[in-house]
Amino acid sequence: MMKGAHLANFSMQALRLAGYALIFLAGVWFHSSGALEAMGAYGEDIRYLTVQHLQLTAISGALAIVIGIPIGVLLARRSLGVLGPVVAQVVNLGTTIPTLAILALAMTVMGLGTPPAIFGLTVLTLLPIVLNTIAGIKSVPPALIDAARGMGMTAWQILWKVELPYALFVIFAGIRTALAINIGTVPLAFLIGGGGLGELIFTGIDLMEPGLLLAGAIPTAALAVAVDLIGAQAQYWLVPKGINPLR
Amino acid sequence: MIRLENVTKTFDSYMAVDNVSFEVPEGEICVLLGPSGCGKTTTMRMINRLTELSSGRILIGGRDIMEVGATELRRGIGYVIQQIGLFPNKTIEDNICTVPDLLGMDRKASRKRAHELLEMVALDPAVFAKRYPKQLSGGQQQRVGVIRALAADPPVLLMDEPFGAIDPINRAVIQDEFLKLQSALKKTVIFVSHDIDEAVKMASRIAIFKSGKLVQYDTPDNILAHPVDDFVADFVGGDRTLKRLQLVKVADAMQADPPRVLAETPVAEALALMQKHDHQSVVMTGPRGRARGLVRRAQLQGAQGMVGDHYERIPCTIQVDDTLRNAVSMMFSNDQTWLACVDQDGFYRGYLTQRGITHLLGATYRDA
C-alpha cells in the first residue's frame, strides 16, 4: 500500500519534471527555429487568416447545428419505421469517410472557393450532430413520454418540453465532437480555395520554410485547443444541472 | 485445523479485528457471524491473505500461513464470494478448472473432475459445461461458484456470505445441497454470514463478532441456549429458543422404550398397562415392532376381546431423525399434543409430547 503510494508520488514528480523539461526545450527550439521572428514578420497575415479561419468554423458550425438537430429529431421518430435506422446507419458510415475526401468531393461538385469549403465543412460537422441527436432522443425513457402524454401534452410540446431537454447533454457532446473535427479540418479548406491559416502551413511546406510553416501551425494548433476548451466549458455551464452528469 | 492466535488488523488507527483467537477442528463448518462492520469478513480475508494481518498468527494444519507465498497459499484454499465472481469470458468448465489450471494439473483429469462436481450439484455437464456464466440463472451460477472452489480439492474453504444474493427459496435448496456435499467431502469451512438462521442451519460452531472482537465462540445450540451477553442475545433474536427446535433431533426429546401392545393382547391387559403408565392411549405394534395402530383408554373401558378388535389409525407419526421444529409444526397443524416416533423402517421407537419438548428446552435454563 505505502510502497504503491510512494511509487505513484514519485512517478507524478517525474511526470511533472518531464513536463517542465519539455516546455523548456520547446521554448529553446521555438526561439532557435526562427519561428518567433517569423510570427512577428507574418503578424498581419496571421491576424487576417485567423479571422478567416474562425469565420469558416463559425459559419459551417452554425449551419451544421441548425440543420443537424432537426434531421436528428426527424430520424429518431418511430413513425419512420425502418427508414430511420437505415438512414442513421448511412450517416454512421459517413463519419468514417476521411475529411480530405469530403472536401475533395465538395470541390468536384462546386469548384474552388469559399462556398465549397463551407459546404464540405458543414457536411462533415453535420454527421456527429445528427448521430448524437438521434441517440439522445432515443435515450428518453418511454415512461417519461407516457407521463407527458398522460398529462395532455401535444407531440410538439413533448418534443420541446421533454425530449429535447432530456437529450440536451448528449446533443451537446455531439456538437463538441463535431466542432473538434471542424476546427481540425479548416486548415485543409485552403486546398480548395477556402482560405484560413492552412495557407501559411501549406505554403511553408511547399517552400520548405520552417518559419512560415510554424507561423501557420502554431496558431492553428492553439486555436483548435482553445475552441475545444470553450466547447467543454459551454457544455458544462449551458446544460442544466439535472441532466448534466458533469455537474 | 485452522487456528487463529491473537489476530489483529488495524487500518491506519482503526482497529478492524482486535486480538481474535479461535480454532476450527478439521471437517467442521465455522460460521463467522455479526452485524456489518464487525470484522468477520476481514478475519476471513486474513486467512488467505487477501488482507494481511497486522499482528498475531494464523495456522492451517499446523503451518503458519506466512511461511508460504500468498498466491500459493490461496491456490490451496477454496474461495466463494457473495457476488459469485465467475469469469464471464470463460466457459463454466474453464471457470471450475481455474485453480487446477493455475496449478498446472492435467487438463483432462481436471475437466473430468469438473463434470463430476457439476453432477453433484444437479447440473448436467452435457448441458452446462460449455456454457458461459451469463447463460445460467443466479442459483445455478452460485452452485458453480461453490464447486469452482472445490475443484482442486483444497482441505479448507472460505465462503463470504455465499448465498446472500440468492432468493430465499433457492437459498434453502442450495444450503441443503452444500450440506450434502460437505457431508461427503468433509472440508474445513469458514463461512461468513449475517443471518442467524443460516448460521444455525450450517454451523458446527458459530463465532459471534462485535466491533472487531470475538464475543462468543460455541456450538449453535449453546449460543442459542446460553448467549454470553445482551448483545449476543439480541443478535440471535428473542425467538432463540424456537430456533433451537431446529437443532434438536426427535430422538433426543422422545420418550424411548414406550409401553406397547400387540393385536392379540387382551383388552384387560392393555387397560392395566395404560393404568400403570397413566396413559390415555397406547400404540399397538405388529409382531416385529412396527407401529400399526392406537387404542384409547376411553374406547376400551367395558369392551371385550383383544386389542386388535378395537384399534384405530395412529393420527401422526414422525421419524426419529427429524428435527423438533418439524415435530412441533406437525403437532400444530394436526391439533395433536402427542406424536408416535418411528425409525426409517417403521419400527416404533418412542413418543413425543408437548410437555416433553417444553421440558427439554427448559432444562438448559434451569441447569444454568
Binding site: 505513484a8 476521411p98 475533395a104 468531393l105 502551413i201 492553428t220 | 469470458n89 458461459y132
Partner: protein, 218 residues
C-alpha cells in the same frame, strides 16, 4: 464515366498507393497498440496520473493534423527526415494514442471488483489476472478503440501526402492542384472505401476476438 475509365487504367497505381497507405496506417497502429495498451493498463493504478495522461492525449488529438505535421517538420529536419514517411508515422502514432489508451483504461476500470477479488482469492498472480481475466474482458472495448484509431489514421494518412508520405491522398492532392476531377474522385472514393472496409473488417475481428461469454447477444 471518365473517372471510371481513369480508375481502371490506373488500377496498378491505385493498388500501389493503397498498399502504401495501408502499410503506413498498419505500422502506426501496431506501434500505437504496443504503447497505448500498456499505458492504458499502467494508468489504472493511479487516478491522478490517469487523468493527466488522458488530458494530454485529448489535447494532442484536438491539434489539427496538418498543424502537427507542420510542427514536426522543423523538429525532424535536422535529422534529414523533415518530410516523408517518418513524420507521418510519428503523427499517426500520436493520434492513435487517445482512443486506445482511453478505451483500455475505461474497460479495465469498469471490470467488476468482485471478479478481481475472486481471481486474487483463487491465487492468481497480478500477471495471470491481467492475461486471464482483465485483458480478455476488456478486449471488446479495447478493440473498439483500435477501430476508432484506424478510421482516424486512415483519414490523417490521406493528408500526410502533403508532407511526402504518399498513399491514396496523392490522387486527391494531384486532383486538386491539376483541377482534375477524375483523379480527385478516384482518390476520395478509394480512401473512403478503404476506411469503410477497415472499419467493417475490424468489427468482424472484434466479434472473433471477443469471448462468446461477453457478447451482448447470443
Amino acid at each position: 464515366m471518365e473517372t471510371l475509365r481513369f480508375a481502371l487504367e490506373n488500377l496498378p497505381q491505385i493498388m500501389d498507393r493503397t498498399v502504401e497507405h495501408v502499410s503506413l496506417v498498419g505500422a502506426a497502429i501496431l506501434i500505437a497498440i504496443a504503447t497505448g495498451v500498456p499505458i492504458g493498463i499502467a494508468i489504472t493504478q493511479n487516478a491522478t496520473i490517469a487523468k493527466r495522461v488522458l488530458y494530454v492525449a485529448a489535447i494532442i488529438m484536438t491539434i489539427p493534423s496538418i498543424a502537427f505535421f507542420g510542427i514536426l517538420i522543423p523538429i525532424l529536419s535536422p535529422f534529414g527526415h523533415g518530410i516523408g514517411y517518418l513524420p507521418a508515422l510519428i503523427a499517426l502514432v500520436f493520434y492513435s494514442q487517445l482512443p486506445i489508451i482511453r478505451n483500455t483504461y475505461t474497460a479495465i476500470m469498469n471490470i467488476d471488483p468482485a471478479l478481481r477479488d475472486a481471481a486474487r482469492g483463487m491465487g492468481m498472480t497480478a500477471l495471470q489476472r491481467l492475461w486471464q481475466v482483465e485483458i480478455p474482458m476488456a478486449m471488446p472495448v479495447i478493440l473498439n478503440g483500435v477501430r476508432n484509431a484506424v478510421v482516424l489514421t486512415i483519414a490523417i494518412a490521406a493528408i500526410a501526402t502533403y508532407i511526402g508520405a504518399g498513399g491514396l491522398g496523392t490522387f486527391i492532392s494531384r486532383g486538386i492542384s491539376q483541377t482534375d476531377s477524375r483523379q480527385l474522385i478516384t482518390g476520395a472514393v478509394a480512401v473512403s472505401l478503404l476506411a469503410i472496409a477497415a472499419d467493417l473488417f475490424l468489427l468482424l475481428l472484434q466479434r472473433l476476438l471477443t469471448s462468446p461469454g461477453l457478447r451482448t447477444r447470443n
